[in-house]
């Protein structure tokens, strides 16, 4: 069973709907006993980093998620704020994250001369150049575009964590893969067919 972790931030229903459309029965839950039994976990999320971490604490999920992901190594997929929470620290609210990957979450700093063209938040469709072999992008055409909504992005200290880059005024890491840990800054659940393919690939892992 795939569990979409409900920790009170954002758009769980659209992830659930997308999985349902490809015939995957997922469960939305914040119940530790359900998350304990999950084969795979999806951690979506929209909003403020500090709020996200506070909510995980409030729901009493941090130790459980650490155990499931770091010790039992079940596949986990973070989306948008979800993947940012995997990092060690975010500039948004100067807040420590789960620290599952050796990366930071930093604010988009657009060079002054490009500020009329590249506004923040970065909202819209971007291509992703995949930089290592990955099951996640199997059968995804390199010309596909994915939907982004964010003001902060990942910066990987461990270069091996990065799976692909996108360009918005400059290159930034837009998806990661590190053992059983996967994540995308963009929203597969909002990225039409290419996004559905990504979910299918994750489900088959």
């Amino acid at each position: 069973m795939i569990v979409i972790v409900d920790y009170g931030v954002g758009n769980l229903r659209s992830v659930y709907n997308k999985l349902k459309r490809i015939g995957i029965a997922a469960e939305i839950s914040s119940d530790p006993s359900v998350i304990s039994k999950a084969d795979k976990i999806i951690l979506p999320g929209v909003g403020h980093f500090r709020n996200g971490m506070n909510k995980l604490k409030e729901y009493g999920l941090i130790d459980l998620l650490n155990r499931r992901v770091l010790t039992e190594k079940i596949p986990v997929f973070g989306i948008c704020l979800g993947v940012q929470l995997f990092t060690k620290h975010s500039e948004e609210g100067d807040c420590d994250g789960l620290g599952w990957i050796d990366a930071e979450t930093v604010k988009f700093i657009i060079p002054k001369e490009q500020q009329t063209k590249f506004k923040v938040p970065h909202i819209g469709w971007n291509s992703v150049s995949v930089i290592k072999n990955s099951l996640l992008f199997k059968n995804v055409d390199p010309s596909e575009l994915f939907y982004f909504v964010h003001s902060y992005h990942l910066k990987c200290n461990d270069k091996n964590v990065a799976l692909g880059n996108s360009n918005y005024a400059y290159d930034f890491v837009s998806c990661i893969e590190h053992g059983n840990i996967f994540g995308t800054q963009f929203h597969p659940e909002k990225s039409q067919d290419a996004g559905i393919q990504l979910f299918e690939n994750f489900v088959k892992l």
Binding site: G10, N11, L12, R13, S14, N17, V46, G47, H48, N51, L81, Q115, T116, K117, F118, K119, V120, P121, I123, G124, W125, N126, S127, L145, Y147, V149, H150, S151, S166, N167, Y168, H187, K190, Q192
Partner: protein, 253 residues
Amino acid sequence: MFRPRVIPVLLLKNLGLVKSVKFKNYNYIGDPINAVKLFNDLRADELVFLDILASKEQRTIQLSFVQKVGDECNMPFSVGGGIKTISDIKQILNAGAEKVIINSYAAENPEFIKQASMEFGSSTIVVSIDVKKNLFGKEGTYTLGGTKSTGYSAVDFAKLMEEKGAGELIINSIDRDGTMEGYDLNLTKKVSEAVSIPVIACGGAGNYQHLAEGINAYASAVSAGSMFIYHGPRKAVLINYPSKEDLQKIFSN
């Protein structure tokens, strides 16, 4: 590669899809859920839904409707109409919307934008600013379907909303609405230059060239109603949208 978004704007009146000219003369178009299905097939980038009577009638856009859209919609969508509370926003997001659009209440209570963006993150909060010229040709911003002046100029209102934490602005020219004569490019440009958050140009687009002009006037995204709803000089109702190849061509210069 980053490609600007092209966004159909769908207006709702009594849960039917309508289209206006200069915020008047509402023409009934059809069933909004059917339109969502067509835009799914046409691979639209994003959809905007506005319940145009909600604020006037002092209610919020119907949640069961938003949920229906959420279940059907293959792309991101945002929703506006009478939003006044944090709980309104929470419910609309839970129903599957990506973003909420606030217009009348943003002018009435700018602090609400601050509160909302703190709670949900800036990128979830869109403020729509309706602009028109009065009888003496003086440009100003309006709420309640273009009937009530806010007292702010477009640039001042845009800056205030950015300061309060809005993540995006829809700049809507009432004078161009439904005319299909092209965006008010001066307006688009001066607001885009004044703020560092994305601006969506709205009001007046009638062809692909207009969309490119909006982006050249520093809009981050372009939107249109009539253009994606009507076809031909007699304005036959036909939901349409540029193909992937067309989109690449439109923004290649």
